[in-house]
């Protein structure tokens, strides 16, 4: 079919495939563009408007089909001239013209003059805002394209472009177009001369502030939607893009800050925080005090944390912006003046620390201080001495604690702190205060010490004595331990405190060598903390501890500070025997070996190879009498990285593959099986390994007993983790076993439980051991299991063990997967609360509690059976978590319609009288909340 015929067919039938056919003809050079245009010429000049429009659309579609590099400059030129002439032909044609322009603009051979013609034509002939969204979108795409790729051309047009763009954009409301417009504006403010139109430009943007847009919910989900965040960010970027907007923007922000709407205030503060990079303090000099007042008011009386954080950041931004400008004490652009104002206004609140405003005031002053070094020095030298004085005059311990907390807060490290020095008099006073009161308030002094040390303030001898005494004598709780550890790590990390560290270590070691006692775990942990430093770790390690048996189990904690080779050659290898004798506890072995394995990357290849040669093929190591030896081996090998040790892992797999069924049943068997699973998982990409694994699974299935089902479970799990879809093949076998009337049913239930339990990570089958874990394993597995298990779930004659495992399964499944099924499964959950199913209670209660909380109405039909069971469980003495969850369920039930639950009210309030007298405080707390919900049911 020739070109003419194709064109006619398109005009008559509007067949879309014709566009492709014509495009293909042009690409293969069977048709020239000139010939195509000549052929379509009659239609383009037809007196019928519809034909002209259709012809133009065809041209646009055909050109769109062509690659971006296809057209020659002269072809583009003629098309541009032709299209811009068509613009003034009729308004109906403009949409097709704009489409054609968009395609031409992207042609790489387009020259500058054609670009200018195109832009001018768009600005003069297209009344953008009178067109539908699609065409407006095309216009903005063209303009953005030129701004991005032909900036030099746009710059030739100068501020005319800005003026015309403002007219085109004025009144734009579609979010998709706005995103484009905002992008264009960002480039314009940056690269074009906006000076003559800056006010207009600001106005056109400011009318969208604060941006409030809720995306429509689309059912298809495929359509690309614009998000609120995207628009907010784009708008903020323009407002903050140039200092020229400052004179208009700041008054607008002030107006929004004064409004009652929290979202508007938040948006205004957000813009302010980001504008200081571009805005100069001189541009806002007349508003500085007003801004300070507004921000400090927001921070002091914040309705919520979000506003407080924003206000504090704004205060810091304000101070930073002043700090950047040339200081002039005669005007408001003076850091000192504003800091004085802050101290004058907020300082008084610090004296009344029972009042609600004390802490907000501290936060405001700290926000001022963290802006820059001048602010910090001013705030510190003004406030800290007076706080110390106040501390010394006060008598109440809790007031003193508050003051210590306040000082700590003022001195907390921020991004700029590294270059600031604490005034020496303040620093000295603080160390004196700390040395005298350390024993009375250790929990409050330790954070203060950390902050002071981070400011490189050098402590005196007293600190070492205090800390030594504290570590050796105090009975430390977890909170104190963390604080102490922070202090010690800071001491260890800086060369400045080398002397203190060495002295402390000597003191601590003397304490147990001198008295020949065993150091406590806490003391040893402190020593480890003091070794934390890449440079000094080795030195201190060798000088003070090495080798000490007690110390070995703590070694892994400092591994990250030592080089891998050092650990493997100096610690692991020569100490291997020592390790085997000292690491008897399974937990320590696991930790030690997993740490060793996790660092075993390529650099350790030689070590591992040697290790293999000497140990791996030595059959004696696999004898069961040397269990610890084997355990260490298993954990170490199990942790090796697939990437570097594929070959070694294969060797070991082949070695143990023959022996897997010969294992005698002892406590090692379990770990041995998991190790086997670990290897299968890591090597599963190899077909022969997969075949091996399958044949072992088959062997297990032929004689299902305890050992074989256990092995079956582990291997299946290893395979599922690698590829979750494998579960399909194995679930039927499991269901078959579960329906057996023998012990196999129980074993199968256990097996399903361990297959579906992802909460307890087994070390040898986890990503830590470099196993392959499919990212969607949970979803795919649960979907499969649930779909295959439904008949079993609805079966009314479930055995207790089956009930247990199924209820557990439901509580493990991510809620989004079973959302639709859970209501149909509700009777099973309620049945699981019966007295005979004690072990299923926790899972069932959790599932029910989640369900009542999210969809209370789904439970309405079952409340007659549910209430008596919950009432019984709320007083179940053996387990407090069951009591708490039952009470929670009872509380959530008050959200049901009143007429449904009113009949139970008296009974439940009566029952709760017993619960509020429970012997556990946490249960009482829950009972009180539940009691109040029921008592105030109609209030």
């Amino acid at each position: 079919m020739n070109c003419q015929a194709l064109i006619e067919k398109f005009v008559n039938d509007r067949h879309e495939t014709i566009v492709n056919q014509l495009g293909q003809l042009l690409i293969t050079k069977e048709l020239k563009l000139v010939d195509f245009i000549i052929s379509i010429g009659d239609y383009l000049q037809s007196i019928e408007l519809s034909k002209r429009s259709l012809a133009l659309t065809l041209v646009a579609n055909v050109v769109e089909y062509l690659p971006n590099t296809f057209l020659e400059p002269n072809e583009i030129h003629h098309l541009v001239v032709f299209t811009s002439a068509k613009m003034s032909d009729h308004h109906v044609l403009i949409q097709s013209c704009v489409q054609l322009f968009r395609i031409l603009a992207k042609q790489s051979a387009i020259n500058d003059d054609d670009c200018i013609t195109m832009i001018k034509s768009i600005f003069s002939d297209v009344y953008v805002q009178s067109f539908p969204q699609g065409s407006r979108y095309n216009v903005f795409v063209i303009l953005l394209h030129f701004l991005l790729h032909r900036l030099d051309v746009v710059q030739q047009l100068g501020s005319d472009f800005v003026c015309n763009f403002i007219q085109s954009m004025d009144g734009e409301r579609d979010p998709r177009n706005l995103v484009l417009c905002f992008q264009c504006l960002q480039y314009m403010t940056k690269y074009l001369d906006i000076e003559p139109y800056k006010e207009e430009l600001f106005e056109i943007v400011a009318c969208y502030f604060p941006m409030e847009y809720k995306p429509k919910v689309t059912n298809t989900g495929t359509e690309e939607t614009v998000t609120q965040e995207q628009l907010v960010l784009a708008l903020r970027n323009i407002l903050t893009s140039t200092g020229k907007f400052a004179q208009y923007c700041i008054p607008m922000l002030i107006e929004k800050l004064e409004s009652d709407i929290p979202s508007a205030r938040l948006a205004a503060m957000d813009v302010f925080i980001h504008c200081i990079d571009e805005y100069d303090a001189r541009d806002m000099s007349s508003y500085l005090v007003q801004l300070w007042n507004l921000f400090s008011k927001q921070a002091l009386c914040a309705e919520n944390q979000e506003i407080e954080i924003c206000a504090l950041q704004s205060i810091t931004a304000l101070m930073q912006s002043i700090g950047k400008s040339i200081q002039n004490d005669e005007t408001e652009i003076s850091t000192k003046k504003l800091v004085d104002r802050a101290i004058r206004e907020c300082g008084n609140f610090l004296k009344e620390f029972d009042l609600k405003l004390a802490w907000p005031a501290v936060k405001v002053l700290q926000a001022v201080g963290r802006a820059n070094s001048t602010c910090s020095s001013l705030i510190w030298s003004n406030l800290i001495p007076s706080l110390i004085k106040q501390f010394n005059t006060l008598e109440q311990a809790n007031h003193r604690r508050t003051i210590l907390d306040m000082i700590t807060y003022f001195l907390q490290p921020t991004a700029i702190r590294t270059i600031i020095k604490l005034p020496s008099n303040v620093s000295d006073e603080l160390w004196i205060l700390l040395s005298t009161h350390f024993e009375s308030f250790p929990s409050h002094c330790l954070p203060l010490i950390s902050n002071l040390l981070q400011l490189n303030s050098i402590p005196g001898q007293v600190l070492e004595d205090n800390l030594t005494k504290f570590i050796l004598h105090a009975n430390l709780n977890d909170e104190l331990k963390i604080k102490l550890s922070t202090v010690l790590k800071i001491l260890a990390s800086s060369p400045t405190f080398d002397r203190i560290c060495t002295n402390l270590l000597s003191n601590l070691i003397n304490s147990w060598t001198g008295t020949k006692t065993t150091p406590s775990n806490e003391t040893l942990e402190c020593c480890i903390d003091l070794c934390h430093n890449s440079e000094r770790c080795r030195e201190r390690l060798e000088r003070f501890f090495f080798p000490s048996q007690q110390f070995i189990r703590l070694l892994p904690n400092i591994f990250k500070y030592l080089s891998h080779l050092y650990i493997l050659t100096n610690l692991f290898s020569p100490l291997f025997d020592l390790l085997l004798t000292s690491i008897v506890n399974d937990e320590y072995t696991k930790i030690f070996c997993s740490k060793c394995g996790s660092i075993a990357d390529e650099s350790c290849k030689t070590f591992v190879q040697n290790f293999y040669e000497t140990n791996l093929f030595d059959d004696s190591i696999w004898q069961s009498d040397k269990q610890t030896n084997l355990l260490v081996m298993i954990y170490f090998i199990g942790n090796l990285k697939r990437k570097f040790f594929q070959h070694e892992l294969e060797l070991i797999f082949n070695k143990i593959n023959e022996k897997i069924f010969n294992q005698s049943s002892n406590e090692m068997t379990d770990i041995y099986f998991y190790f086997y699973g670990n290897l299968i998982n890591k090597l599963a990409s190899k077909n022969e390994i997969l075949e091996h694994a399958r044949s072992i699974i088959k062997q297990c299935e032929t004689s299902p007993d305890e050992k074989h089902i256990h092995l079956w479970t582990i291997i299946v799990k290893a395979l599922i983790l690698y590829r979750p879809s494998f579960i399909e093949q194995y679930i039927p076998t499991l269901i078959l076993w579960m329906n057996e009337k023998t012990n196999i049913a129980n074993l199968a239930c256990q097996s399903l439980k361990s297959l579906t339990n992802f909460n307890e990570q087994i070390l040898l089958l986890s990503s830590d051991a470099d196993c392959i874990i499919h990212p969607m394993v949970k979803q795919i597995m649960f979907m499969n299991i649930l779909s295959q298990m439904k008949p079993l779930l609805i079966n009314n004659e479930l055995l207790p063990s089956q009930m247990n495992v199924l209820v557990d399964l439901l509580s493990n499944v991510p809620k989004s997967i079973i959302q639709d099924d859970i209501i149909s499964l509700l009777p099973i959950l309620i049945r699981a609360l019966a007295p005979s199913n004690e072990s299923a209670w926790p899972s069932a209660l959790n599932s029910i509690s989640d369900l009542i909380k999210s969809e209370p109405n789904s439970i309405v039909d079952h409340i007659d059976t549910l209430f008596p069971r919950l009432i019984t469980l709320a007083t179940y003495q053996k387990d407090m978590s069951i009591r708490i969850t039952s009470l929670k369920c009872l509380k959530y039930l008050t959200n049901l319609p009143t007429h449904k639950i009113e009949p139970y009210r008296r009974n439940i309030i009566h029952l709760l009288k017993v619960c509020v007298g429970d012997h556990k405080r946490l249960v009482r707390k829950e009972a009180v909340e539940t009691q109040m919900s029921w008592c105030l049911l109609n209030a």
Binding site: K356, W359, K913, G917, K920, R921, R924, E929, Q931
Partner: protein, 159 residues
């Protein structure tokens, strides 16, 4: 117990809230018995709302930890509170709210006494007498209007 139309103390002093009770490891041990202590009673009443202001009794310093005594041997609880101003007409209502909250949430074995701090109110003795008269308290809580006001005070955001 009459309710006046507008707030009497227009500009009350607001105090910092104490931190929530820290949960210890032993709190999760079902075999350890946790006795009810002063702090627990305080936690029950600290969140009661003031009838006049959108603030809690704790924030207005009407109740504090020092004003509470508990004796688990004799099963008695004494709560003392401090009206923000000595002529506060809401004092009885506040006392009634405290009583109501404890009535609903304390185990029945406790005998509760609610009193005003000595010298904190001009009608201290009269109010104390009212608050500790069981019949009058019951009668007050049966009054529909008064019960609604009390319920509003003891409703917390969680419940």
């Amino acid at each position: 117990m009459e309710l006046s139309s507008g707030p009497q103390n227009l500009n009350p002093t607001i105090y910092e809230r104490t931190e929530d009770r820290i949960i210890q490891e032993s709190d999760y041990d079902n075999d350890v018995r946790d006795e009810i202590d002063r702090r627990e009673i305080f936690d029950l009443i600290r969140s009661i709302n003031d009838p006049e202001h959108p603030l809690t009794l704790e924030e207005l310093h009407v109740v504090d930890l020092d004003g509470i005594t508990i004796d688990n041997q004799t099963n008695t609880v004494q709560v003392q509170f401090r009206p923000t101003i000595p002529h506060c007409s809401m004092a009885t209502l506040i006392g009634l709210s405290i009583r109501a909250k404890l009535l609903y949430t304390l185990p029945t074995r406790y005998k509760v006494g609610v009193n005003i701090f000595e010298g904190a109110h001009i009608q201290e003795s009269q109010i104390n007498k009212q608050l500790n008269d069981k019949e009058r308290v019951t009668a007050a809580l049966e009054n529909q209007h008064l019960r609604a006001v009390v319920n509003r005070c003891i409703t917390t955001s969680e419940s």
